[in-house]
């Protein structure tokens, strides 16, 4: 099949339509604007709703309303905008409303810059807003994978009645890559795979009124909701971790990286392997639930780990929590829009596996 070129932002938009998303609200912010542009005409074509919201707060709460009404709904933004959306995400987690939130991360903190970054990992995987909750976080590394994970995001959101985040960065969002899967569906209507949602607000004809709420003032009521949420999160943690392994069977060093960074790591590994260095990669696809058990198993086979991130060190904490001191864990991170280079990673691989002097070992 002939391939077409699309950027990650557009592919997520098209995949959302194909997955039956009928409501999108967004606010301009770089580097995710292509998604808002795409949805502005595509939702109309597909018979859905597009609203250019007056703020990120409005956008997430428009999505709250659509989700409460039973629609498959999505919003997108980049780091500073996602901070604003956290209020609504917390409410949706508490009200058990399914929705998809896309964060094409940029350099931070503050207004930062528009270069790629992975510095929102903590915010994404620890809940992000107030209260004890989690959002499922999916991290595509290619435009093609963004297509698949967008579908998965809507399915998981509905299955578990919880907000799901797609976490990418400026490179994934704006880079064009050939895509096969998408072509079949362009300019078609969504498949409208909305499952039955008996809890949704549709008017109380023939049933008792439904109420969507998170305010629970009765003795023990809120504790009970938290218990229900934690049971759900436990089920997600046991059933939904996803990851990709590369050469982990025979590796003395396993590099842990996700998203865009994993692509640079992949190139570095090809180069290192040509030098007969036994290095592999473990790429979490779900950042929450983090594939902890699967990574832990590798500790028995490999001698050391190296975590590479576009942050000052965030996912590395989950790696440490998984490995629990069984093996040394090295780290290379660049924050504020810096992108790790293939050369640096290859050099680190050489130094860890064939240290030339003590001072060059990274810790």
């Amino acid at each position: 099949m002939a391939k077409i070129m699309m950027c990650g932002n557009e592919v997520i938009g098209e995949a959302a339509v194909h997955a039956g998303c009928t409501f999108y609200a967004g606010y301009p912010i770089t580097p995710q604007n292509e998604l808002t542009h795409y949805m502005s005409f595509r939702m109309q074509e597909a018979g859905g709703t597009f609203i250019q919201a007056e703020s990120e707060l409005a956008a997430i709460n428009l999505v709250f309303g659509a989700a409460a009404a039973g629609a498959r709904a999505m919003t997108s933004s980049s780091s500073p905008g996602i901070s604003l959306k956290q209020e609504g995400i917390s409410y949706m987690a508490a009200c058990q409303l399914p929705a998809v939130i896309v964060n094409m991360m940029r350099g931070g903190p503050g207004l930062g810059n528009i270069a790629p970054s992975q510095a929102d990992y903590f915010q994404a995987t620890r809940g992000g807003g107030h209260g004890d909750y989690r959002t499922i976080v999916l991290a595509p590394s290619t435009v093609e994978e963004a297509w698949d994970l967008t579908h998965l995001a809507f399915d998981l959101a509905d299955e578990y009645r919880t907000p799901v985040m797609i976490l990418g960065d400026g490179i994934l969002g704006q880079m064009m890559e050939p895509v096969e899967a998408v072509r079949r569906h362009l300019h078609g209507k969504g498949t409208g795979l909305n499952p039955n949602k008996p809890w949704a607000l549709t008017g109380c004809k023939g049933r008792k009124p439904n109420v969507i709420k998170s305010l629970l003032l009765g003795e023990g009521e809120l504790e009970e909701l938290n218990r229900i949420l934690q049971m759900k999160y436990g089920k997600i943690e046991s059933k939904e971790p996803r990851f990709e392994s590369l050469y982990t069977e025979d590796s003395d060093l396993v590099i842990v990286a996700y998203g865009t960074t994993s692509r640079i790591v992949r190139s570095a590994i090809s180069k290192a392997r040509r030098e007969h260095l036994h290095v592999g990669m473990f790429r979490p696809v779900t950042l929450w639930p983090f594939p902890e058990t699967q990574l832990q198993k590798l500790a028995r086979k490999t001698k050391a780990f190296l975590v590479v991130e576009m942050s000052a060190g965030q996912m590395v904490e989950d790696v440490r929590l998984s490995i629990l001191g069984q093996r040394p864990i090295h780290f290379h991170g660049r924050a504020g829009g810096g992108v790790p280079t293939e050369e640096t990673i290859v050099e680190m691989i050489r130094d860890i596996l064939k240290p030339r002097s003590k001072k060059r070992v990274y810790a």
Partner: protein, 244 residues
């Protein structure tokens, strides 16, 4: 014997948490009477605010959603755009609509969303112990203006209905009160018109209700109702502000 007065079917037969003399109970009842009379109880989806009416869904016998503070019109819009055939309204206090949700109400009205907004203006934050609201009158004592609202320090009481009436997207805006039986009847007529507008697809309608808060005005219910007529309506004049 013919029954001439009864509880509306849309209003649950439960005690409310509202204080003695609070206007919310009257407005709830009027709303439910109108919903029954229009025969739309099974088509209504309401969005409750953060504020004194936060648990209005405990009293209303139709579908309801909570909303984060001030985002009430956004949640209502998301519901209405998903179910254009349902009757969707937000019910908001002056903290929700005139302070934290100012941006949301302006842009919802400006987009001309075909929803109805009931704006209950009592000039204080009742739920959180009577702090000053954007609508608190000059000189009015509250827990954050103990010597009375000072315009130099605190600014002026904002007239949201007049402000919103500037927007082409707003089709019908009326200010009413529940201070006496005659005004209650006028309030009911405005509520009916605002909901009918939505049923007829006319666009954004808002009814502002000047409502008493005896507890945080430090007045008896009787004096609180009198204050509406004597003081509030001087700054917030009653009547149709816009009807196109």
């Amino acid at each position: 014997m013919k029954k001439i007065f009864e509880r509306p079917a849309s209003l649950k037969n439960v005690p409310t948490h509202y204080c003695s003399g609070c206007g919310h109970s009257i407005v709830h009842r009027l709303l439910c009477e109108v919903i029954d009379e229009l025969g739309i109880r099974e088509d209504v989806i309401a969005v409750c605010p953060v504020g004194c009416a936060v648990i209005a869904y405990e009293y209303w016998d139709f579908d309801c959603s909570e909303a984060p503070h001030g985002r009430t019109p956004c949640v209502a819009t998301g519901i209405k755009r998903t179910h254009p055939d349902k009757i969707v309204f937000s019910y908001q206090g002056d903290g929700d609509l005139a302070a934290i949700g100012t941006s949301e109400i302006i842009h919802t009205a400006n987009r001309g969303e075909n929803i109805t907004v009931f704006f209950i203006n009592n000039g204080v934050y009742g739920m959180t112990n009577g702090q000053m609201a954007p609508t608190t009158l000059i000189g009015q004592k509250t827990s954050t203006s103990i010597k009375g609202r000072d315009p130099v320090r605190d600014g002026y009481p904002i007239k949201m209905s007049e402000l919103l009436a500037q927007l082409p997207g707003a089709k019908y805006i009326e200010r009413v009160t529940v201070s006496n039986p005659a005004n209650i009847l006028k309030a009911k007529a405005a509520i009916r018109k605002a909901l009918k507008n939505q049923m007829e697809g006319k666009g954004f309608s808002l009814v502002e209700v000047l409502s008493p808060c005896p507890t945080y005005w430090g007045l008896s219910p009787k004096d609180a109702y009198r204050r509406i007529d004597d003081e509030l309506t001087k700054h917030f004049p009653l009547g149709v502000i816009k009807d196109i």
